[in-house]
């Protein structure tokens, strides 16, 4: 057969492309549930990491199930309605019964997207824990934002200063340890550090109004809470 004829060439290419397309479509559909589950598990693991609940996930025999279990036990995915805006937020109940509120931050790093989760204590001011990740920051430099030593610095920092939103600054050349709004930048990863600072600032700004409302609410609930405490605390003199 003459394989150089026009009709042959056209029919050959059509048949080939249809077969390949069918094969790929089948493979993509068949593997999709598994792939989506991987992404879901990764997100859940990250959320749990921000509140330090899965330190040993990598050693678990069935990582996916281990994460699912802990996630469903502690985390409630809820969009809170405050005033007339909706805020996506994850509520985590710790073993102690304390509630921690986790919000997602995302933005652009030096080479690609960076993102993370910031967990706030119920005063909506103090950071309980954080975790960050990136797609393609420079290994050994900017990529260090996903390490424990870096995210640990954020613990117990505060994002409000006398009711004014200040976020957390990532300071090049060493942060002032006593400053509650500063952490150390990564040496050699200045641009990524700056980008992360902007990312946190920008993402949290969306929540500022909500945080204010919620912290007011938390304060106003306080007196009511104290009524449920043992009587002897009530007998103490009121200051």
């Amino acid at each position: 057969m003459d394989t150089n004829k026009n009709t042959y060439t056209i029919i050959y290419s059509i048949v080939l492309v249809v077969i390949v397309a069918a094969l790929l479509a089948f493979a993509a559909e068949a593997l999709k549930p598994k792939q989506q589950r991987n992404v879901e598990i990764e997100t859940k693991q990250m959320i749990l990491k921000s509140v330090r609940l899965v330190p040993d996930a990598e050693n678990a025999p069935d990582k996916a199930k281990y994460i699912e279990d802990i996630y469903s036990k502690h985390i409630k995915d809820s969009t809170i309605k405050a005033e007339d805006s909706d805020y996506g937020i994850y509520i985590c109940t710790l073993d102690s019964g304390e509630k921690v509120y986790i919000v997602k931050v995302s933005g652009v790093g030096l080479w690609g997207p960076i993102w993370g989760y910031v967990a706030l204590k119920s005063d909506f001011n103090t950071i309980y824990g954080t975790t960050f990740d990136h797609k393609s920051e420079t290994p050994g430099l900017g990529a260090e934002i996903n390490t424990d030593w870096f995210s640990k610095q954020f613990d117990n920092k505060t994002i409000f200063d006398n009711g004014e939103f200040v976020s957390v600054k990532i300071v090049k050349g060493g942060a002032d340890k006593s400053n509650p709004h500063e952490v150390d930048a990564i040496s050699g990863g200045t641009i990524t550090s700056k980008a992360l600072e902007a990312t946190i600032q920008k993402s949290l700004t969306n929540y500022v109004e909500f945080f204010k409302i919620m912290s007011e609410k938390a304060k106003s609930i306080q007196p009511a809470d104290s009524l449920t405490q043992p009587v002897d605390t009530l007998t103490q003199p009121v200051k």
Binding site: Y8, T9, Y12, S13, L23, L24, Q35, N38, S136, G140
Partner: protein
């Protein structure tokens, strides 16, 4: 005969150190050993099966769209590998990111199809493809081993440099950050080529 087809590309005709093909991905995915091994296997599978499939089709392929047909076959295999990695080796596939997709452009694959599979029977083509993929893989693994060992102090993620050696723990040792950066891969490739040519002198150009 088949044995010779298999052995040649591993050393004497290694795609990276002798033919100098596929260098780009060798720089990108060799920071850590694990992704390098997965990359090596992926490339081996793709070179093997694309040579095999093209060799089966070789007498039917219209000459004018020869390259396009080869690309379609290679692209199909690469997408399959990418999808399977995303489903069953998610962490590694994240580390390899775009480089799995870029296997399509790896010169070794098209090179072997053009140079060998189009003119030979399916079985030798399969062996030739697999062997070239492995030849690429061996170099990748060597580079990744050296880079991970000196750059991060680990092998396959396990720490091998005693923690007490590090300066921060009062020792004398520090990981070398240069090994993590791409230029070091080129330097290691250069060293491997040097060693190889000093062993088999006939590879040296006159």
């Amino acid at each position: 005969m088949n044995k010779k087809i298999f052995i040649e590309p591993l050393f004497r005709n290694n795609p990276i150190t002798v033919l100098v093909l596929g260098i780009c991905s060798a720089l990108a995915v060799t920071v850590k050993l694990e992704p390098a091994i997965v990359m090596a296997l992926s490339v081996t599978i793709v070179t093997g099966f694309s040579s095999f499939i093209v060799s089966i089709l070789r007498n039917t392929i219209p000459n004018r769209i020869r390259i396009i047909v080869q690309l379609v076959v290679v692209a199909m295999l690469v997408i399959l590998v990418d999808q399977i990695l995303k489903a069953y080796a998610y962490d590694v596939s994240k580390q390899l990111s775009v480089f799995v997709g870029l296997i399509i452009t790896n010169c070794i694959i098209m090179g072997r199809i053009e140079a060998y599979a189009l003119g030979n029977k399916p079985l030798p083509s399969l062996i030739d493809g697999l062997a070239n993929g492995l030849g690429y893989g061996i170099i990748l693994v060597i580079i990744a081993f050296v880079r991970e060992l000196f750059g991060s102090g680990t092998v396959l993620g396990h720490a091998v440099i005693p923690a007490g050696w590090y300066i921060k723990n009062g020792g004398f040792y520090e990981n070398n950050g240069l090994f993590i950066l791409p230029p070091m891969a080129l330097i290691i490739v250069g060293l491997i080529i040097w060693v190889q040519r000093s062993i088999s002198k006939d590879l040296i150009e006159k």
